[in-house]
């Protein structure tokens, strides 16, 4: 194995390590996020991090096997956060800073 190939492998392995660390930190945010909207944003970013990890794996092995999975994640990964954001209720707030706030639904 030549030297540039070793450099490539080291770079992509470091990229995989960074993506895994990012995913772990993001799971921490998702589990701890104060409100459901924070978790929704976290899930949305988590789909992007999964796509980046699959891309790093594809770049390492030079195969295009996981491209359809990346495609499906790219255009279906946002549905979870859209569902959470659309059907969230006011009472789902974690802790109100200024007391309970009445907010009736605006049609």
């Amino acid at each position: 194995m030549s030297v540039p190939e070793t450099v490539d492998r080291v770079l992509i392995s470091a990229a995989v390590v960074l993506v895994v660390v990012a995913g772990a930190l993001l799971l921490f945010r998702i589990s701890r996020g104060p409100s459901m909207l924070d978790r929704a944003i976290g899930l949305d970013v988590f789909a992007a991090v999964m796509i980046a990890g699959l891309g790093a794996k594809s770049a390492f092995a030079r195969d295009s096997f996981y491209f359809p999975i990346m495609l499906v994640l790219a255009f279906l990964g946002f549905t979870g956060s859209v569902g959470i954001a659309r059907f969230i209720a006011v009472r789902d707030k974690p802790l109100s800073r200024r007391g309970p706030r009445r907010k009736e639904e605006r049609k």
């Binding site: 450099v7 960074l18 945010r29 909207l37 796509i51 295009s64 495609l71 790219a74 859209v82």
Partner: protein, 133 residues
């Protein structure tokens, strides 16, 4: 393997590494920032820049026409769908009052939300007027 192909491979690996580093930076921002809107600001960095860099790196390393088309489609769909989710999350955060109104410099949505109803009682925060400087 010719020199140019080797250079392309290394450039692809560098792009993949940069994209992963930007993903990590965005996630660190999501951990550190305090608010829903601030976190959604930090969340866009892995979704657009990091992911596009990773996809460009993969395209440089694979160098196939079909692979390039699929990667361009992945980037296109990600760019189309992530603003939808961000918009809905920010709208829901505003309407359920999960943002700090005192820290906003401009609140253009405020007038738009209160004006057509003409109901002062519907304001989610009546005391937000004097807080503004």
């Amino acid at each position: 393997m010719s020199v140019w192909l080797q250079i392309t491979d290394t450039a692809g690996a560098v792009l993949v590494f940069l994209g992963a580093a930007i993903c990590l930076l965005g996630v660190v921002g999501m951990l550190k920032l305090p608010d829903v809107l601030s976190r959604s600001h930090a969340a866009t960095k892995p979704q657009t820049l990091g992911l596009l860099l990773v996809l460009a790196g993969v395209a440089l390393r694979l160098r196939g026409g079909m692979d390039f088309a699929t990667l361009a489609l992945i980037g296109f769909f990600q760019l189309m769908t992530s603003p939808v989710a961000s918009h809905l999350v920010a709208r829901s955060a505003y309407r359920t009052g999960q943002i700090e109104r005192g820290e906003l410099l401009f609140d253009d949505l405020d007038a738009q939300l209160t004006e057509p109803g003409q109901e002062a009682g519907k304001r989610p925060e009546p005391d937000s007027g004097p807080e503004r400087d």
